[in-house]
Every structure is written in C-alpha cells, then in structure tokens.
C-alpha cells in the first residue's frame, strides 16, 4: 500500500518534483514564502502560503524561484502570462479564487486569448493554483467556487481534483502542460489524507474517473462534492441502490464520453456542484447529457447545488448552503420514485 499523505502535501510534492525537473518552473504569489527581506529569515519562509501548502519550497529553491509578490493580482498574474509566453513555466498562486475579480482581464483577455489572437504563434504554459469552496466560515468573498466562470472561457483548462492522489498527478500534468491550466484546490480538503504514489506521475487532464461503480444511477460530482456523493452512495447501497459516482476531475476539457457511458448504463443522472446554481458546471453537464444522452435518460436530470445567494458567514446558514448526502439521496429518491429511500 502506498503511503498516505494529505491533499496539501500532495500538491506541495507536485510542485517540488516539477521544480526539480525544470528550472523554468517558478512559483509566484502572495506569501508563497513570506518574510521576503526579513533579516532573520533569508531563505526561510515565514508562511509558505496562507494555508502552508508551499511550505519548504523556498528553502529548497530559493527566493528567485519562490517569489513573494505585492498584493497586485493583475500585476503578477499578468506577469506570469507573459513570462510563460517568453520561455518560463510559472505557477502563479491566486490565494482565493474569489480574487479573480482583481485579475480577470489577465486571465480571460490576455492569457486565454493570446495564442488564438496570435494565430497559434504563442503558447502559455502557465498554471494558476487557486483555493475555492465553502464550509470554512470564510464568508462571501472567500468561499466561492468559480470554476464555471473559467470553464466558460475558451483557451483555459480547468482542473478540480477531489483526492490527494488526483491532485498530485493532475498538478504535475498541469505544470507540464503547454496551455493555461486553472487548478482548483478546495480549502476544506487540504487536511484530507489519501494514498499517494511517490515520485513523478501524471494523470491526464480531460479524463474523468469513476470513483465508485454502480448500475442504478449516475452521480457526477465536482471536487469536494465527490465525497458528498460517495457518502450518499454508501447510504443508498444500504437501500439496495447502486450509485455510480463519476468525478470529471477536469471541467475543461470535459470527458463527455465517460459521463455519457455511465448514464447509458444507469439511465438516471444527478449532478452535485457546490457552486451557485446558474450557468455553472452542473448546468453545463446536464445540458450536454440532455443533448447527447437524451435517449439514455429515464428521468429528469437533477442538480444539487448551492442556492442563488452569496455564501453566508454564519455556520448555521453555511451548512445549509452546501450540498449534503441527504440532499443527494432525496434527489435520487425522486428519480427512482421511491420515497422510502429518504425516510431513514
């Protein structure tokens, strides 16, 4: 059995490994090391990221390659775009995905479009790592899940891993990829542990993973919500319902085939996405199936998402805001038309 490490350590390992392999890989972001210019710190970090994910990297790679930036997201994300266009392979950290508000132009109008606008005569091998997700009591401006916004933008690849092993293999792929990849890390997953292979390995971007096989219903879930789906599936199994849990792992490109094949098998689909409900990844996947997989379907496609409201601060409300196994089970009961499932 492989060793177990945390999601956070898995992400850290992916960076360390790629940085060892290629000197063009650099990290930049706010306090990715911390303590720049502090006499008693030098190449020792003060923070190593606000959640400690980049700890130890400045010690190994120095401050030229683990670069603390001013609070200037447009500045450093834009700089990372052109650094990538001119031969570097930067990994920029956008501390919270919510901060895209300060640098959307650099991502959407510059980074994502340069290659196309230049007629293919440029490539932008850039990764933007960013934290997302509710449940941390971080309130409306630090808890969003904005991967839908990025999925909508041509030129970007969008990865949302749900396990430590996926996170590591996908991040290595992302860093070695020649396109811009936006890499989402759920802040509530960092301490989750899982088996993670040692060394360098890649998980392809654009390949979904079936996290649990089943024949009665397909549950497509994103990021942390994969666990919600698995918890629901366990309870459903007790009732004799075998749910198949599909983790797309990347939303752009989306592995349509794996999803469609599963729906073909089960004839029923529930999608779990903790983003707000409008124009999100859940609607995207639902619409894809309602087009290409319509004939497989025996029932409506249900989506379990957050409501159309900002993320509330209060724990009592935030818990209601998020999807839950109970909500998933309720949706499954509706589709299978068996209310007894919900009962206990």
């Amino acid at each position: 059995m492989a060793r177990k490490i945390s999601f956070s350590d898995a992400v850290n390992e992916a960076m360390a490994i790629t940085m060892r392999n290629d000197e063009h890989v650099i990290l930049l972001g706010e306090d990715v090391a911390g303590g720049a210019n502090v006499d008693h710190l030098q190449n020792e970090e003060a923070w190593g990221g606000v959640m400690g994910v980049t700890q130890g990297l400045v010690q190994e790679f120095g401050r030229d390659r683990v670069l603390d930036t001013p609070i200037a997201e447009a500045g450093y994300v834009g700089a990372a775009v052109s650094a990538a266009a001119t031969g570097m392979r930067p990994v920029a950290e956008l501390m919270f995905n919510d901060f895209i508000g300060s640098c959307l132009d650099e991502v959407m109008n510059q980074g994502a479009k340069l290659r196309y606008m230049f007629g293919g005569h440029a490539k932008i091998p850039l990764v933007i790592r960013t934290m997302h997700g509710a449940g941390f009591r971080a309130a409306a401006q630090h808890s969003q899940s904005l991967y839908g916004m990025f999925t909508a933008i041509p030129g970007l690849k969008v990865v949302v891993p749900s396990t430590p092993a996926d996170a590591k293999g996908l991040l290595i792929s992302a860093i070695e990829d020649d396109d811009i990849v936006i890499f989402f890390e759920d802040k509530t997953l960092y301490n989750v542990k899982g088996e993670v292979p040692e060394g360098h390995y890649k998980i392809p971007i654009g390949k979904a993973d079936i996290k649990r096989e089943g024949s009665d219903i397909t549950i497509v879930a994103i990021g942390k919500q994969v666990q919600t789906a698995l918890d629901a599936a366990d309870k459903l199994a007790e009732k004799g319902i075998q749910a198949e849990v599909v983790d797309p792992r990347s939303l752009s490109p989306l592995d349509e085939d794996t999803i469609l094949k599963s729906v073909q098998k089960t004839s029923r689909l529930v999608i779990v996405d903790e983003a707000n409900p409008r124009c999100n990844a859940a609607t995207d996947i639902s619409a894809m199936v309602a087009d290409k997989g319509f004939d497989f379907l025996d029932a409506p496609i249900k989506m379990i998402t957050a409501p159309h409201s900002p993320v509330p601060f209060s724990p009592s409300l935030e818990d209601l805001y998020l999807p839950s196994p109970e909500k998933v089970i309720k949706a499954v009961a509706e589709l299978i038309d068996d209310e007894s499932i919900v009962a206990s």
Binding site: A46, G75, R137
Partner: protein
C-alpha cells in the same frame, strides 16, 4: 508629543474622553475576541485591530453620521470608532442572527450603513473605489459629508489605490485616504512590496497633499485628519495621510508571526502603545482626570462583557434566512 495650538483649540475635554473611550473599547474588544478565538468558539478568519486604535479614533473623531468610511479585513476598530453597536458587532462575529448583518457577513463584512460605516471588506484594495464613490455621492447630494478610506500598506500596491485616488483628485472629491502602515501585509514587509519610501510620497502622483504621521500618536493622527477633513469639506479635494503603526497580534488569529522581531514587538506593545500615550496626554493637558478615565475603563469592561453575553445568548440565524437579502424585491428559490 507637543501640544500644538490647533489641537488645543479643537480638542475639547468631551471629545478627548470620547476618543479615550473608543480606543479602550477597541482594545478590549479585540483582546476579548483574541481570547475567545483561542477557545475555538469563533468561526472563520479574524483580523484584529489592537495596536492601531489611534488611527481609527484619531480620524473618526472628526466625523459624524453623514460622513462615510470604507474599511478593510481588519475592520473592528473602524466600526467601533464610527459608532457601530458593540453587541451587534460581537454577535456578528459569532455568526448570530442578532449581529449587525444578521450573521451573514461575519468579522470581515461588518457594516452599518446608517452610521456611514460602509463595511469591512475582505478584498484588499476594495475600499478605494467605494470611498471615492461615497465622496462623489456626498458632493452630488450636497450633504457636506466626507468619505474616509482606511487601507493597509499592502493595499497601497493594488491597482484600485491608483484608480480611486486619481478619480477623487481630478474631481476634487471630499475623500481622505488613510494608510495604516503597520509594516506588514500578511507576512510581507512594507519595504519589500512597495517601491516607495513612504506611502505619502505617492500623493505627488495625484497632485494632492500627502503626509506621514506617527500613527500611534493619537494627537498627531487627530491633527492631520483635522486638516484633511477641513480641506475636504471646503471642496479642496482629497488628502493622503500615512499613519505608521503596528498590529499587536498576528495577521489573523493563528499567525505565528515569524517575520516579526521580539524587539519591535516589545517596543510597540510597551512604550509606543497608543493608548498609554494618549492617556498620558489627556492627563497632562487636563482634558480628563484619572478618575474619569478610570470610570471609562470600567464601563468599557462592562460593555464588552455585555456584548459577549449578548452574542453568546443570541440564536443562530434560521434556515429561512439563507436566501433572503440577496435582492430587494425577490427571493431566489433554494435548491431543495
């Protein structure tokens, strides 16, 4: 800490006592939140203002309800200085339905628009355009009000600094930009991230006055703010004031503060402490007596105790609150 003539004229005994009280409230409020946080009761990210009281209070001493302020993630001090209710604040930090924002905002978003407090803000740099807009609004509505933008040394490198101040300057808006230079943005020193020596140097880019004051000297802040507010009310446009200060705690609760030195902490927490210094000043200049200050201390202690009790006893918001307050005229359906 010389007592200038202006200040003798403008600072009444009543105002001095109000200032002392607000500073004491902030300190005790923050010390209390610090303590409570360590017990694990409080949710989320909490950034404490302790140590920087002179700035919020020295500035807000010149404001009333028709004046607006914008704040930061480190907003408790601004709230208190602008007159927000302590119970409502504490309940908000606990996420209770009796909070100033019904528990929906939390520490980083406490607001009371009726008091001109336009919200703490989780986005660094978010306040510049908001303050400029509040200044524009005051000017167009001819309220005579001013707007104050409190911001950190880290925010001083964000693009909104540039856009907000430039706009306030070309339109000669009644806005005062108050930098709280506490030396660090998270774990990053001001000197590393900023290419200017002083934030006030940047005023020249906008053709407006800029000055740097000792932000732990309450009277220095008070006087600089007085000049700036007067300028603003006279239609002469914005001013940039940099207050050199220090935060007593870490960036947020849980920060090991490896980037600080013991010497600087000691110095700031002891001889440079703003409250001790202001207390001394008030006594020396006979603006208040030892007894008066003592009774303020006592009443503040009681206030904070009451606030905690109020917060603890208050209920969490009910489920039906989840999707209210998103829009004025309709409530989006939940997903179940």
């Amino acid at each position: 800490m010389g007592v200038s003539e202006i200040q003798q004229q403008s600072l009444t005994s009543e105002k001095a006592k109000w200032m002392y009280q607000k500073m004491a409230e902030i300190r005790r409020f923050e010390d209390q939140v610090h303590e409570t946080f360590s017990t694990g009761v409080l949710p989320g990210f909490v950034h404490l203002y302790a140590g920087e009281e002179a700035v919020a209070v020295g500035v807000c001493a010149h404001l009333d309800d028709k004046d607006s302020i914008t704040s930061t993630h480190r907003g408790h001090g601004h709230c208190i200085a602008k007159g927000c209710d302590l119970k409502g604040m504490m309940a908000e930090i606990y996420g209770k339905s009796t909070g100033l924002c019904k528990g929906k905002g939390g520490s980083m978003h406490i607001a009371d628009v009726s008091k001109g407090m336009l919200g703490a803000n989780g986005i660094v740099g978010g306040g510049f355009p908001l303050a400029t807009g509040a200044g524009l609004s005051a000017k167009l509505r001819k309220t005579g009000g001013v707007a104050v933008c409190f911001f950190g040394d880290g925010a001083n490198n964000h693009g909104t600094f540039h856009e907000g101040i430039n706009m306030a300057a070309i339109w000669k808006l009644p806005v005062i930009f108050v930098a709280e230079n506490n030396g660090y943005a998270e774990a990053t020193p001001f000197e590393y991230a900023s290419s200017c020596e002083s934030i006030s140097d940047r005023a020249a880019s906008y053709g407006i006055p800029g000055e740097t004051v000792d932000g732990k000297d309450t009277m220095a802040v008070y006087e600089a703010a007085e000049r700036a507010v007067e300028r603003a009310r006279n239609g002469e446009g914005p001013t940039l004031i940099e207050c050199k200060t220090y935060r007593n705690y870490g960036h947020f609760e849980g920060d090991a503060q490896k980037y600080k030195t013991n010497e600087e902490r000691d110095e700031h927490l002891k001889e440079l402490d703003a409250i001790i210094r202001f207390r001394q000043h008030v006594l020396t200049t006979d603006l208040a007596s030892e007894d008066e200050l003592h009774s303020i201390d006592e009443s503040v202690r009681k206030e904070i105790e009451d606030a905690v009790e109020f917060a603890e006893k208050s209920p969490m918001p009910e489920a039906d609150q989840l999707t209210t307050d998103v829009y004025v005229d309709y409530q989006p359906g939940g997903e179940e």
